[in-house]
């Protein structure tokens, strides 16, 4: 996994609450058996006027000009400002894959849906929960000046707004550690194999029916 330490980037404001994973990446693109290539279909129905198809070239498609990512001033954005309950709906990891593939490194919102929030960390994408007023301020500052950049510092757990205001955020130590170092958490868990075996032995004793070959 690509490590995340400190990132400075252009912020794009997506002013919509309850953005669900069907909006982030519609179902027709979930037929892929790969982890990459979803960026061109990120927010497909919000971004284009027509219905997108898998494997379709997107360059000539009619775009919805008012959608934030279609505006020239937000081209190359790598920080997404969002509203409450971002990422609600399905567990599809294609949603963070699409955000990552498009070029986003971090998403800032007042709240996230649990599964989406969790999936981001597995992909080097940092979801940040800030107070609603802080998110409001970021939205306002970003709208004010074209090219406004936001600094996300995972080590110090801070977000710095274009005007220099600094907001602190929380993140679990383990997740932070994995993200800072780009660690594969499967490898880390497998280091605990003795503990897992010990648990299994105890469980086999308490609930043997869970360990029998099926149907016996």
């Amino acid at each position: 996994m690509r490590p995340f330490t400190k990132h400075t980037g252009l912020a794009a404001p997506l002013d919509l609450a309850n953005v669900d994973t069907d909006m982030i990446i519609p179902k027709q693109f979930l037929k892929s058996i790969k982890r990459t290539g979803f960026g061109k279909n990120l927010f497909d129905e919000l971004r284009y006027e027509d219905e997108g198809q898998p494997d379709q070239e997107c360059d000539g498609r009619p775009i919805r000009k008012d959608f934030v990512l279609n505006q020239d001033r937000y081209k190359g954005a790598s920080v997404l400002l969002a509203r409450q309950n971002f990422g609600c709906g399905s567990s599809r990891e294609h949603a963070p894959w699409a955000l990552d593939d498009y070029g986003f490194r971090s998403i800032i919102a007042p709240s996230f849906a649990d599964i989406f929030y969790n999936n981001c960390f597995k992909n080097g994408l940092l979801p940040i929960v800030l107070q609603a007023e802080e998110v409001d301020q970021l939205f306002a500052e970003v709208a004010l000046r074209e090219g406004a950049q936001v600094i996300v510092d995972l080590e110090n757990q801070t977000v710095t707004s274009p005007s220099g205001a600094t907001f602190e955020f929380n993140v679990d130590n383990f997740r932070k550690h994995c993200l800072l170092n780009g660690l594969d958490d499967i490898g880390l868990t497998l280091q605990q194999d003795a503990a897992i075996r010990r648990y299994e032995e105890k469980r086999m004793n308490d609930a043997p029916w869970l360990f029998l070959p099926r149907g016996q």
């Binding site: 669900d20 909006m23 979930l30 892929s32 129905e45 709240s111 897992i196 308490d206 609930a207």
Partner: protein, 475 residues
């Protein structure tokens, strides 16, 4: 020892290792796999040279993008016309063969929607931890199991380590007191709950559903309720084990047998919240107040009883809600309408992991029996949740009732719930759907979904618009 909730008990009995930062390593008893969220996980295993920790803990079946017409299903995976879907289903078959995982493939009568298949086989048992790369895994919480959806990286993590890194959720109790009215079903109960607490109301919580309104439900009904816990933001929905649970599990193919059965039943008796257990939040709803529900907008929380007027954006105080309502009104094409009965329906879908079990189909059949679908309807389809549900329904003659009424009888799969196969809405079409999500584009580009119970969907199919099924059946 202090009193524990059911969730606390399940958490504690699966704790492998507690970490200082509050996260923990949790053991997983059962992983269900389907074709959409597993290919990248298997690929990850291969790239790292890893093997599954315990293959017997996994069970797979294709469901999300299998076709549901007889024509496409007759020759199994070879019959899938969409080449991209075909690759995905074939990939699941290949991965299960390679890693030695039990799979009910497209030619197996046990194939179906994972959340229907697991319980039906007795693979889902009380007291288990159950995961699947699908948010509706909360369904299995109906058995007093700790069950939730995960992403593909976690699917790979569970395959490789049999564990998940988790942080414990907080405890919420949603109590439904009293007795449900006739024709008010589990679906109406859960929609009313989501309407009350909101689509993010359960975020960060494990919700236990209790009270007489829940205890009186069948296992099918309980699964419907837990299925939609995620639509209230809670990854986990739970219901305590009682005689109804044990009776349902007994004799199923993968359920424990003989001495193990007796031992298991004894252990399962503890799968209830202790009397003095503390919940971080308690919500109480009166069963008598719940009427048949219909969603009007593009989030499951945008729901009303059939006899209520559609709420208007201008009446909302909260600016975010106001904007959300205005957007939903526009998307749903509600201008000029006051009641949901004013909406002319184009399609009806009876199916999905929420409502495709035998009981759902029996209720729908009871409503349409001897009647005909409205001539204004373009299509009404019934998609059973599994090959075994389909066989049972056919044994009872339900398919004949549906077909005589003008509804199509299909092969099992997720179908129009998420429209990954050919079953979808056209732009602007309104659908009465027994599924779980009414998001923009969910059932097809530009499609307009109204979530309802099977009885309400069946009545709407006949009337061509929404009606109160309780009134409808009197005529």
């Amino acid at each position: 020892m202090s009193a524990k909730t059911l969730y606390d008990k399940l958490w504690d009995s699966h704790l492998v290792q507690q970490r200082d930062d509050g996260s923990a390593l949790i053991y997983i008893d059962l992983q269900l796999l389907h074709e959409v969220t597993s290919p990248q996980a298997f690929e990850g295993l291969r790239l790292a040279g890893r093997k599954p920790w315990r293959v017997s803990s996994s069970l797979a079946t294709p469901d999300h993008n299998v076709p549901t017409t007889k024509k496409e299903r007759i020759s199994g995976v070879d019959g899938i016309e969409d080449p991209v879907s075909k690759i995905q289903v074939t990939t699941l078959d290949d991965n299960c063969n390679e890693f030695g995982i039990t799979e009910f493939n497209m030619k197996d009568i046990r194939q179906g929607i994972v959340h229907v298949v697991g319980p039906e086989q007795g693979a889902t048992l009380p007291g288990m931890t159950v995961v699947c790369g699908d948010s509706h895994t909360s369904t299995h919480g109906a058995f007093g199991a700790l069950a939730h959806g995960i992403g593909t990286s976690e699917v790979e993590h569970v395959l490789a380590t049999q564990c998940l890194v988790q942080k414990k959720s907080r405890n919420m109790l949603v109590r439904v007191d009293g007795e449900l009215s006739p024709w008010v079903s589990a679906k109406d109960v859960v929609l009313a709950i989501i309407g009350a607490i909101g689509t993010a109301g359960g975020t960060g919580f494990a919700i236990e559903f209790g009270g007489t309104g829940i205890q009186s439900l069948s296992m099918e009904g309980r699964m419907t309720v837990c299925n939609m816990a995620i639509e209230a933001g809670a990854r986990v929905g739970l219901i305590a084990v009682d005689d109804t649970t044990v009776e349902y599990v007994k004799g199923r193919p993968y359920a424990p047998k003989g001495a193990h059965w007796d031992m298991a039943v004894e252990a399962w008796k503890d799968l209830v919240s202790d009397k003095d257990a503390q919940f971080d939040e308690v919500v109480v709803i009166k069963a008598e107040d719940i009427k048949p529900q219909v969603t009007w907008g593009t989030s499951p929380e945008m729901v009303i009883a059939i006899d209520e007027p559609i709420p208007r954006a201008e009446d909302q105080k909260d600016p975010v809600k106001k904007e959300g309502y205005a957007r939903a009104w526009k998307y749903m094409g509600l201008e000029g309408k006051t009641m949901l009965s004013d909406v002319v329906l184009d399609r009806v879908f009876i199916g999905s992991c929420t409502n495709s079990r035998i009981e759902d189909l029996r209720i729908a059949a009871e409503v349409v029996k001897g009647r005909k679908v409205a001539s204004t309807l373009k299509q009404a389809i019934v998609v059973p949740g599994s090959g075994l549900v389909k066989a049972q329904a056919e044994k009872e003659g339900l398919h004949e009732i549906f077909e005589a009424a003008g509804l199509e009888w299909r092969e099992p799969g997720c179908s129009m719930c998420l429209a990954m196969n050919a079953d979808k809405l056209g732009a602007g079409e309104h659908c009465a759907s027994t599924s779980n999500r009414n998001f923009e584009g969910r059932q097809g580009f530009g499609g307009r979904t109204h979530l309802v119970s099977p009885a309400m969907a069946a009545a709407a199919a006949i009337a061509g618009h929404f009606v109160d099924v309780n009134e409808f059946v009197k005529h």
